[in-house]
């Protein structure tokens, strides 16, 4: 097999991105490539899973394994892949609609599990692919195609949710500061546990409010703040909720703690994909022996409630 030197160029996908010129997602793509190069990971050991949206087209533009799944389902598909082969570097990517709207439940629960997953959300505060409706992070008052009188719903706070729910690496990036973003992505991939990077990734076509200029005027880096302590949950929470004249970017929080995979005994035997299939005769006989005479006649059916049965 021809070995190729690992460079950002070598990670180009088979086709060029078809995002609008200037789309924030270009910066995110570049940062992911740079982080892979920086960490020296072989591209075939990377699996990038996305949902549906402009941002979710990303796996097609990078030389790595990819699944371009359903709208909102990047995280569960990535979860399954990570549990099936924990030797892979599994990265879920997508948009704010994908992750914080239709996929919200998966987002929350994946963080509770502290799976060893990296999740990068290209947050443009809008539904880009469907041409500009309000998204879960659209700011209040923003007039979009679906909110002509201005958005009245409060935007979700993904970083605060992440902190409250158990993510162990919580960061915010800005694709307008791509070098800084690369560091965050590299840190997230290297981190053992669930890492979330919410990236301000402007949609130049459908979001005329949250532009590059908008963010440039507001963002500041946490690492420039003297004494900022990324191990303090409450300190991080304060920063997670700061969204106004000033908006922090950088690593808000990180915590070392066993991952879900670490606590799953079957995975201690190695990646599931490499484990033997089926049952040997002895185990099979043992299991069958359990069923002899074992006549629990009334199955513990229970369902939602069963007043007639206590053994639910």
């Amino acid at each position: 097999m021809a070995t190729t030197e690992l460079t950002v160029k070598s990670l180009d996908g088979p086709v060029d991105p078809d995002w609008c010129p200037g789309c924030g997602d270009f910066g995110v793509l570049k940062s992911i490539k740079e982080a892979i190069v920086e960490l020296g990971i072989a591209p075939h050991e990377v699996l990038i899973v996305s949902g549906i949206g402009c941002s979710s087209n990303l796996p097609g533009f990078i030389h790595a394994y990819g699944v371009h799944s359903l709208h909102g389902r990047a995280v569960p598909v990535a979860t399954g892949a990570a549990l099936a082969n924990h030797a892979l570097h599994v990265i879920a990517v997508g948009g704010d609609g994908d992750g914080y709207g239709i996929g919200m439940a998966h987002f929350i629960h994946a963080m509770r599990r502290n799976l060893n997953l990296t999740y990068i959300v290209m947050d443009n505060e809008i539904y880009g692919l469907t041409t500009g409706q309000a998204s879960p992070t659209t700011t209040e008052g923003h007039k979009t195609k679906s909110t002509p009188r201005g958005n009245v719903e409060k935007p979700v706070q993904p970083l605060a949710l992440a902190l409250a729910t158990g993510a162990t690496y919580v960061a915010r990036g800005f694709s307008g500061d791509q070098k800084h973003l690369t560091k965050l992505v590299a840190g997230a991939i290297a981190h053992k546990g669930f890492s979330l990077i919410d990236v301000f990734s402007p949609c130049v076509t459908f979001n005329k409010v949250n532009t590059y200029q908008f963010f440039k005027e507001r963002v500041y880096k946490l690492e420039d703040q003297k004494g900022y302590d990324a191990s303090s949950l409450m300190g991080a929470m304060e920063k997670a909720l700061e969204f106004g004249a000033r908006i922090p970017i950088g690593l808000l929080y990180s915590l070392d703690k066993p991952t879900y995979e670490d606590t799953e005994p079957v995975l201690a035997r190695g990646p599931l994909v490499d484990q033997p299939l089926g049952l040997d005769r002895k185990t099979f006989e043992e299991i069958l022996a359990e069923t002899r005479d074992d006549v629990a006649l009334l199955p513990r059916r229970g369902r939602e409630r069963s007043r007639s049965r206590k053994r639910t």
Partner: protein, 701 residues
């Protein structure tokens, strides 16, 4: 014919009925008999009425049959609801010190066995009330001709931890019941030949879980939902032993997507749910078709629509499973016919999913999934084929160019060799947008009709490959028959017995049963059915979903459809009777039957009378002021048995027209009719409105 007996145990939850049933089933299983258990329970009275039937036979059985040989009644309702069902030559056992059995309830030829429990057990010290069950069990052993010692041994094992005193007490009560019955009534005279072969007692859910691990499933995800949850419980409990990762997820959307993610990464994966959860899974099942990712999805059906009847069985999801997800995609739908078939079908599903890289749905139901039966252990084994399908073997020449490997190569079979993520040289993206051979999208501004056509044809070609591998349906029973019964899935055994009954009764009947719903053997089915004289589909849903499926797939319309949708499973005689009705031109009768009127009365009493009464006698009235025939149900006080009044139920609509307290009792047809008329009823205008509201019960198919 094989000797068999059916025992029904009726009581309230808390009466210790399950333990008694357990002990009886274990006794029978130790004697080498086959066991099938069915528990239908309704919460009609406080504490919940529980009705457990055990069919015990020398032969393998997979349904609860038509008979009731012995009733063990643990409370008064048990006697009143089920005494009439006991057949001649049978017996009713109850605690004579607590319960009465009105002779009008007892069919001719049925022996009453009231046990004087306090007298029998006086010597054994102070007993718990549930010990009456053990005395009843002892009496049953005598009547059934079973071995007292086998049961005593089981009690010993059961109470081992509780100490010798408890064991002695239980065995003592058992023996007292046995001896009392032996002194007072003859045994029923079953000529048993006990093989004493020890057999596993399993459910379909159980067999699916075991089939999955034997068949190489390594990953299982689920969200709790009856009646599929047992698979989750079993696999979670055995996860480490069998090396399967089991993940409970936040919802069924996650469940199926996680399973597909695992399947994509290269492990055999499966998930299970019931109809509601399956509905949430639809979109992702189509994704598996598009990504060409193997996954097995189990749907253990329960009564629908919506939340429906969570603890009752139905075959109502065929339309849903067939119609799942948008667009056309290759998939397989398999409906196993019994517990053993659940084992083998699950292995087969995993093999088909990987061999053809597509989603496979196993369509089971509550009846199959939860009801217990004995199987012969030699019918299942760890030695099952594991076919993993086509994988890339040769290293791809040029990794960097990403050009060597075509994940979606257009092949004659439609199967493109897979490469597992992590393998060097085969980098690709699998997408749910349509794509070219490399996986590169051909959607939106890149849409390419030519590639789309060829890619779509490639995917759908796999259906033909699957079809060629599946065993076509075969006609079972006499080659020349008056009637052919057609069914699918879990009803094989009950239809089989119905066909045998009909044949014995002079109507030669055979059976065509479908296990593979998709791909469907349309040509084979048509050829067989065109050669049949009369064809009748029997299934557990309202609209005859499989009859429609058969028509859509093969162009064949059956002559008649028998449907049952009250939540209760078929019984052989139920089917046989309706087949005879059809043959003899009797229309389908949808009037409220007597036992149904009684069930409705129990419901009324629970809702409106705080369970203070119970139904007594019932009388049908043909003419009434309500514009429909009625059931007049006498309600008796639970406290002293005195009549409390009458409940009026429409025989056609099933509407409860009201409660008339103080009306003394049923007075014979004429007087009761006069009473019905005296109720005033509805005006003519109301009646006309009633008539239009009542849809004609014409269910010709």
């Amino acid at each position: 014919m094989a000797t068999e007996i059916t025992v029904g145990i009726a009581g309230a939850a808390g009466d210790g009925l399950d333990r008694t049933g357990d002990t009886l089933a274990r006794t029978a299983a130790r004697l080498g008999l086959h066991v099938y258990t069915y528990n239908s329970y309704q919460s009609l009275i406080r504490g919940g009425h529980t009705w457990l039937r055990l069919r015990l036979s020398e032969d393998k059985i997979d349904n609860h049959g038509d008979h009731l040989t012995v009733l063990v009644a643990l409370n008064q309702d048990g006697i009143e609801r089920h005494a009439r069902e006991v057949e001649a030559g049978g017996a009713i056992i109850f605690n004579g010190a607590r319960l009465q059995c009105d002779p009008v309830l007892v069919p001719k030829g049925v022996t009453l066995v009231p046990l004087p429990v306090p007298d029998l057990t006086a010597k054994l010290g102070k007993l718990l009330p549930v010990m009456q069950n053990t005395a009843a069990l002892g009496a049953l052993l005598h009547l059934a001709g079973f071995d007292l010692e086998a049961t005593a041994e089981i009690l010993l094992e059961t109470f081992k931890k509780k100490g010798q005193e408890i064991i002695d007490q239980n065995v003592g009560v058992l023996r007292a019941g046995y001896e009392h019955a032996a002194r007072t009534v003859p045994a029923l005279g079953h000529p048993w030949k006990f093989s004493r072969k020890r057999r596993p007692v399993v459910t379909g859910n159980h067999m699916m879980a075991l089939g999955a691990v034997a068949g190489g499933c390594k990953f299982y995800s689920a969200y709790p939902m009856s009646p599929a949850s047992f698979i989750l419980h079993w696999l979670a409990a055995h996860s480490e032993k069998v090396g399967v990762v089991v993940k409970q997820c936040e919802d069924e959307l996650a469940v199926v997507n996680v399973a597909i993610g695992a399947g994509h990464a290269g492990v055999r994966s499966m998930c299970a749910t019931s109809g509601g959860g399956f509905a949430l899974m639809s979109e992702a099942i189509g994704m598996a078709g598009m990504l060409e990712t193997p996954v097995v999805v189990v749907n253990v059906q329960r009564g629908g629509p919506s939340t429906g009847l969570p603890t009752k069985s139905e075959q109502g999801d065929l339309n849903q499973v067939f119609g799942a997800s948008q667009g056309d995609y290759p998939r397989v739908i398999i409906a196993p016919r019994d517990a053993i078939d659940c084992f083998h079908s699950t292995v087969e599903a995993l093999n088909l999913a990987e061999s053809f890289q597509l989603p496979v749905t196993l369509l089971s139901d509550l009846l199959l999934g939860e009801h217990r039966s004995t199987i012969d252990p030699e019918d299942i084994s760890s030695e099952v084929p594991i076919e993993r399908g086509e994988w890339v073997t040769a290293p791809s020449p040029d990794e960097a160019a990403n050009g060597g490997y075509k994940r979606y190569a257009l092949t004659p079979s439609g199967i493109s060799p897979r490469a597992r993520p992590g393998r060097a040289g085969c980098i690709h993206v699998s997408g749910t947008d349509d794509h070219d051979e490399h996986g590169i999208l051909i959607s939106d501004e890149h849409t390419n009709p030519a590639i789309r056509r060829k890619m779509h044809e490639k995917r759908m070609r796999k259906v033909e490959g699957v079809r060629a591998r599946l065993q076509p349906p075969v006609l079972e029973g006499p080659a020349q028959a008056d009637v052919t019964l057609v069914g699918w899935g879990s009803t094989w055994s009950v239809i089989h017995e119905a066909a045998e009954q009909l044949t014995r009764g002079g109507v030669a009947t055979n059976q065509l049963h479908f296990k593979y719903l998709y791909p469907f053997h349309d040509r084979e089915a048509r050829a067989i059915l065109q050669g049949c004289r009369r064809t009748v589909v029997a299934e557990n849903n309202f609209t005859g979903q499989s009859a429609r499926h058969l028509r859509a797939e093969s162009g064949f319309t059956v002559d008649h459809v028998l449907v049952r949708y009250d939540g209760e499973p078929f019984e052989p005689a139920w089917i046989a009777q309706r087949v005879r009705d059809f043959l003899e031109g009797r229309p389908v009768d949808l009037q409220v039957a007597e036992h149904e009127a009684r069930e409705m009365a129990y419901h009324y009493i629970r809702i409106h009378m705080h369970d203070r009464a119970r139904p007594g006698r019932l009388q049908p009235i043909t003419e009434s002021a309500y514009g429909e025939p009625l059931w007049i149900v006498e309600l008796l006080s639970r406290a002293d048995g005195r009549p409390e009044g009458m409940l009026v139920i429409g025989r056609e609509t099933g509407s409860d027209y009201g409660w008339h307290p103080g009306v003394p009792s049923l007075l014979g047809e004429a007087a009761t009719a006069a009473f019905a008329t005296s109720l005033g009823g509805s005006s003519l205008a109301d009646r006309a409105a009633d008539d239009t509201a009542r849809a004609p019960h014409d269910r010709a198919h």
